[in-house]
Symmetry: D2
Subunit: 396 residues, 4 copies
C-alpha cells in the first residue's frame, strides 16, 4: 500500500493537508478556556452542515457506529418497535444493533441495490394505528451498495400516514458530501462520523437531535452512560465533556466545517456530483453497471460496481493493493465478491479521481477482464473537462 | 494557554514528538494488509505493558470511559450485584455507570484521600456466602485524589475470602506509569486509555480480559454492540475491526509500547517515581500536604495538593492558565476547591517538572499564599540531581 | 494549485511522508552530540548514492546552485580556462557563473535537445597541449531539455586526450534517480541538491570532491567563505558546521539515503526508467516528440515535450495550474514556449504518473490541441502493467 | 538530548507549533502563482520587522552567514578598505570573510565583553579624509558575548565625521527580538537569518539594502552569483527566484512576521527584555557576572555568563546535555571555557525560561560550583511575576 496514492475506499477519505495539521496538536487542557474556542465553533459548524437550527447537536469521541447507539439508547425503551429496511450491510448492522438492545424490528427486506421502500413504509405506518412503531430507521446513503434513499420522501410518507414515530437517519456517508436537510426533512436524529464528508480521521460520532428526540430522551430507559446526551449537554454547558474528548479531532472538525462552508455547501455537493459522474462514465465505458439499480439511486459518494458473473470482485481490491498500492472497497454481505467499490467522497480532485480510474483499469486488465485501457479515463476526462470546481480546490 | 509549555494535568499527557508523528498518518485502508501490521503489534505491546499473557486484549476507538462500559456490559447481567468503594471522582463515576446499567452496587464510602478498604472488602465478600456479588470494582489510581490502591492485596483478600467475583480494575491513570500486573494480581478486566501512561491523545479505550472474564461474556446479558468484545474478537481474527478503527492512534499506540518496552518498564516506573518524589518534596517545602493521607497511598502519576483552609484551590488552576499559560488540574467532587493537582505522568523530564513547580510557586505567591519563591524548586532539584533516567529520555 | 495533487515539475519532487516527518524536527542543538548522529550517516549515505569511496563529500545549507559555486571557487583561480557546452538553461547558467568569477570559458554551443559533444570535447582537449584548460564542466542531465549526457564517455575522451583537467559534473537532476558513478567515471566534483533524487525540499547543496579536486583546493585562489570546503572539513572533524546547518534537512537526507539504499539503487533507477518510459509512450501516443533528439539522450527524470509549431507551450503549464491545480514545468531559454516539461523523478507511483498524464491530456484538449483523450494514459498503462516496482513503493 | 526540553542555545530558537506547521508543506511549484502569495507577504513582513521602508530586501535560501557574503560582495570591490571592530567570535568571523575577499580591514580590537567603540570609530573616520574606507561593519548583537552595540550612535558618529562609508550591520541575533531601525539608523545593509528572532529553522539569509547600498551594487566588482541581489531582484519581479527557493521556510517566515506584528514589535521587545532580566537576576543570585561589562551592553537575546577562574565553563554545557538533556551555548574563541551562554530569544515563556535556569543550577551544583539551589529561580520568578506578556503568548 502506498502512502502517496490517494485512497478510494468509501471512507475514511483522503485528508487535506490543513486538516491533518489541525488534528495534530500538542496536548491542550480540555478543561481550559482554550477548549471552549474549539468546542463551540465545531458544534456550530456541524449544525450548519446538517442544516439544523433546532434541537441539539452532540459529538462523541468514538467511531460513527457509536452514533447509531446514541440514537437508539437515548430515545427508545426495551421492547420498543422500530421500522427499518435492510438494503445493504450498514442498514443490516443497524438492525442487528436494535435487536441486541431488545428492540422489536419490523424489517423490510429490499434487494441490495435498491433504495428504502418509501411507499411500503407508508403503508406499514398507516397500518400501525396504535402507534406501536416508535422509530423509523433510514440509511440515507448505503455505503455498501452506493445507493441513496429519499429521506424527504420518507418524511412526506410519514406525515401522510399521520404517524408520530421518530425519524432516525444514518447519514454517515452522505452528510457533508450530499445535500442533507435536518430541519426541512423533519429528521429526528441524524448520525454521521468524522471520517467521510468531514474529511477527518475516524474517531468522532456526530449526532443531531430534534426537540422531539430530545424530549424522548427524558423518558427513554435503554441504558446509556458513554452515549448519554444528557451528560454531554451538561458538559457542553460548562465548556467541557463528561470525559476526555478528542481535542485534536475536534479542532480538525472545526476547520473542516469552516472549509466546507467557505467552499459553499452547494459547491461541495456539485463537486461530489461531478466527480461521481466521471466515475460512472468510466464504469459505463468499461461495459459495467453500478450496483444501484437506477440513476435516481446513484450515490455521489461511493459507486459499487458489478463485475461479470463468475468473477470474484474482491480480487480487484486485493490486486490493486498489492500490485499498485491503491485502496478500493470490497463488496460486503449479500454483494460480497459481486461488486467492488470506488469511494469518491471528501477532498478529491479530478486528477486524483483519474488516477483511481486509471489504476482500476490496469487492475481489471491484469485480472483478465475485457477492459480497453484508457476507456474509462477518457469517459471521465470528458466529464471533468466541463467541471468548474478545480479552482476552488486550489485553495486547499 | 501556551502550546509551548508542558501540561501538568493528570492526562492527557505531554506527547513525545515521535508519537505525535506516529499518530499523524495519511489515510490507511483499515481493511488492507497494512493495517494488520499496526493492529497486532499494538495489541502485543499493550499485553506486555499490562503484564498479561492470558485471556484477551481489546482496543476500542473511544475515550477510556468506554473501557468501563466494556468491562461491565460484557461480563454482567441486569440486576447483578457489584462491590465498589467510592474514594474519588472516578470511582464515583464508575459506580454511577453501574447504577445506570441496573446493577446493584454495594458501595463502601471512603474519605477522599484514602485508598480502597481491602480489609472491609474482604469482610463483605466473606459475608456474601451465596456469591451474590458478581464483580469487585477497584480503581487502582484515583486520579482525583492522587491515591493508589493495593490491587495485589485486594486479590489476596478475595482469595482469602474464597470469593469468586470478577475483579474489574480501572488502571486508567496507572497502567504504563506504575507497576501493574494483570496476571500476577489475578485481574479479570483491566481498563485504561491512550492518553495517560501511553502518552497518546485521548481516543482509545484499552481493556484486558482474563479467561474467566471472557467466559462470563458468553452469558452476560447487558446490551452491547459498540463495546462488544465478541464483535471485536471476530474483527481481529480477520485483521480488522467491526467498524472503523482509529488507525493513527493505533499506530501511535504501537510506537508507544515500543518506546516503553525499549526504556524498560522498571525504568519507566522508576522515572515516574523520581519525578513524583520531586513534586512531593516541593509540596513539603511549601508547607503543604498531599490529599493522599499516607505515603503508601502516594500516586506516582498525580499529586493532589491540599491548599490552606478558606482558600479556593481552583483559583490556582485558573490563574496559572490565564497568567502563565500553564495547565494544572482542579479539584473534583468532594475535594473541589480544596485541592489542585499536578499531573506528572507520561513523558516528562526533570526540566519540564521544574518548570511546573516553579510556575506553581509564582501562581500561589501571586494569589497571596505564603510561599517562599524557589523553595519547592530547590527541594525538587535535590531529588532530581540524584536521579538517573535523564539520559534515557534523551533518546526521545 | 492543489496541495493534494502530485507535482510534475522536475524538482522539487513529491516528498514521501516519512521524509517530511524527518525534516520537521524540533530545534536540535547543532553543536550537541545528537547532531553527530545525523551528520555522519547523512554524509555516508550520500557517498553510497554517489558511488564515491575516495575524496570528500560536503553538504551546504543552500540551494543546489551553491554547489556549482562550491565546485568552481574551491578548485580554480581567476582567469583559469574551463571547457563547457551550452545545451540547455542549466549548462548556460553554470557558464554564466564561470564568467562572473572571471574564468575564461571555452564554450561549445550545442542545439538544445542534444547532449554534450564528447568527440568535440576530446578534440579541444587534445589541442590544448599546454593544459590551459583547468576544468571541464559537464551537465549530466539537462533539466531544461530532458537530455542526459555521457559522463563515462567524457571521462574516456579526457583520458584518451591525455588531459589533466578536472571533471566537474552537475548531477543535480540525475543523482539518486539515474546511475551515477563518482569513482568509476573519474568525476572530480559532483554537484547535486536535496530537492531532486533525494526527495527533500530544496535547501541542501551536496558536493563530492575527488582527491585531485581536494588537492586543487589547496592552491585555488577564487574567494570563498560560505562555500569553503576547508571550513566545512574542519567543522565535520568536530561533528559540526562552520555556521548553522539545516538540521531538519540533514535529518531528512539521512533518511532519504536510507530509503534509497534499502530499495536498492538499481531498483530505484529501474523504477525511474519505467515511469519515464510510460511518459514517453504517452507522448508518442499524443503524436508528439521529446525535445531530446534521440533515444540514447532521453532522461529518466524529466521529459521536455515539443508542442506543435505556433502553439505557446507555456499555456499548458498555466492552464494546468489554474484549471486543474496541477504543476508541470515550462520551457526555459531557447526552448521557452516550445516545450513543456513533465518531471518524473523522486518518489512517484504509477498511479501518480497516470494522474499527471491524464491531466495533461485534458489540458491540451482544452487548449485545442488534437489529442485523443485517454490515448496517452492507455500507452502508459501498457508500460506500467509490466513494471515490477510497485510493491516496493508500497512500503513508503 | 531531550526533544521535549526547550533549547537555550542562542539560536536556532524554540520553534512555535504554528511555525513548524507553516514550514512543513507539501511541494509547491515555486514558479506557480501560489508561490507569489508567499514570497511577497514574507518580504513585506520582513521589511516591517526591519523598520525598512526604503531600498530593497532579499531573502536567500542559505544560512545567515551567507548574508554577510551578500553584504560584502554586492557593495565592494577587491582591495576596498573596511572598518570593523573585533569584540567577539562573530565580528571576528566577518572580518575573516573580508580578508578572504581581498578587502583591507582596519580592525579595532576590543576586549570581548565590550561593545563597538563608537568614539574610536568616529576618530578613524574623521582621519580618513580621502574616504578610503568604503564600509563600516558593525555587529549589533555579539552572540558570543551577549553584548549589544549602539548602532544609532554609530550612525551619529559617521554623520558627525561626515564620512560616506556604507554602514553594514550584522543583526542576526538582534533583529526580531530587540529594536532595530533600518531607516532611522541609516543602515545600508542589514543582515539576519531565519533561526533567531524569526523563530524558524536555519536556512534563510535575510538582508535589507538601502538605496545607497543598491547603488553601490551597480559598480561593485567582487564576484557573486548565488548572492547576487541583481539576480534576486529580477526573480522577484517575476514572482520567482533565480534558483530554487526554500518554499517551506518562506511560508514559515511569512507567518513569523505575521505573528511578530500581531503581537506588536514593542511587545515582542518588552517580552525579550523581561525574560532576559530574569536570567540576569538569576546570574546575580548565583554570584556570577555576565560577560558584558556594563548594563548598557546587556543583550536581551543571549547572556554569556563568566564562570569562576579555573573552572572550564564548557563542562556546564556538556553536563547539561548528557545529564539533563538540555542545550546551552559554550564559550567561543577568546572566551572559550570562560563563559557559558543562555540563549533567551524567540518564542519563550516564563515557565520555559525557569526550566532552563533551574537546570543550570543543578548542573553547576553537580559540577561543584557554589550554587544555592533555587536561588536563581527565585530571583527570576520575582521578575517574571511582574511581567505582562504571558497572556499574549497564550495565543500561540
Amino acid at each position: 500500500m502506498s502512502l502517496q496514492n490517494p485512497v478510494f475506499i468509501p471512507g475514511p477519505t483522503n485528508i487535506p493537508e490543513a486538516i491533518r495539521k489541525a488534528c495534530d496538536v500538542p496536548t491542550i487542557d480540555h478543561r481550559s478556556p482554550l477548549f471552549a474556542t474549539i468546542l463551540h465553533p465545531a458544534l456550530d459548524g456541524v449544525r450548519k452542515v446538517l442544516k439544523q437550527t433546532r434541537g441539539e447537536t452532540f459529538i462523541f469521541p468514538a467511531s460513527g457506529t457509536g452514533g447509531w447507539e446514541t440514537a437508539l439508547s437515548n430515545t427508545l425503551n426495551p421492547g420498543d418497535r422500530v421500522l427499518a429496511a435492510r438494503n445493504g450491510m450498514f442498514s443490516h448492522k443497524w438492525i442487528d444493533m436494535c435487536q441486541r438492545f431488545g428492540l422489536q424490528v419490523t424489517q423490510v427486506d429490499v434487494p441490495w441495490g435498491e433504495g428504502l421502500p418509501v411507499a411500503q413504509f407508508e403503508e406499514i405506518l398507516r397500518e400501525d394505528e396504535r402507534g406501536s412503531i416508535k422509530a423509523v430507521l433510514a440509511t440515507h446513503n448505503e455505503t455498501a451498495t452506493g445507493v441513496v434513499s429519499d429521506i424527504a420522501g420518507l418524511r412526506r410518507a410519514m406525515d401522510a400516514a399521520g404517524h408520530g414515530a421518530l425519524l432516525l437517519v444514518d447519514g454517515v456517508s452522505s452528510i457533508g458530501s450530499m445535500d442533507f436537510r435536518f430541519d426541512a426533512w423533519g429528521v429526528d436524529v441524524a448520525v454521521t462520523g468524522s471520517q467521510k464528508g468531514f474529511m477527518l480521521p475516524a474517531g468522532l460520532a456526530i449526532v443531531g437531535f430534534s426537540e422531539k428526540a430530545v424530549a424522548a430522551s427524558k423518558t427513554a430507559t435503554l441504558p446509556r452512560t458513554f452515549w448519554s446526551i444528557d451528560d454531554m449537554r451538561k458538559g457542553y454547558a460548562a465548556d467541557a465533556y463528561p470525559y476526555t474528548p478528542s481535542v485534536g479531532l475536534m479542532n480538525g472538525l472545526k476547520l473542516a466545517t469552516e472549509m466546507l462552508l467557505a467552499e459553499g455547501l452547494d459547491t461541495v455537493f456539485a463537486r461530489h456530483a461531478r466527480i461521481a459522474e466521471g466515475v460512472r462514465a468510466a464504469v459505463a465505458a468499461w461495459g459495467m453497471k453500478p450496483c444501484a439499480v437506477s440513476p435516481d439511486l446513484y450515490s455521489n459518494t461511493v459507486t459499487a460496481i458489478r463485475t461479470p458473473e463468475g468473477f470474484n470482485a474482491s480480487r480487484i481490491v486485493e490486486h490493486a493493493a498489492t500490485r499498485y498500492g491503491m485502496a478500493f472497497g470490497t463488496g460486503l454481505g449479500d454483494v460480497a465478491g459481486k461488486v467492488f467499490r470506488i469511494g469518491h467522497l471528501g477532498s478529491l480532485t479530478d486528477a486524483m479521481a483519474l488516477s483511481g480510474i486509471a489504476t482500476a483499469e490496469m487492475v481489471m486488465a491484469d485480472l483478465g477482464l475485457d477492459i480497453t485501457l484508457g476507456s474509462g479515463v477518457a469517459a471521465a476526462q470528458a466529464v471533468y473537462r466541463h467541471g468548474a470546481a478545480a479552482e476552488r480546490m486550489a485553495a486547499q
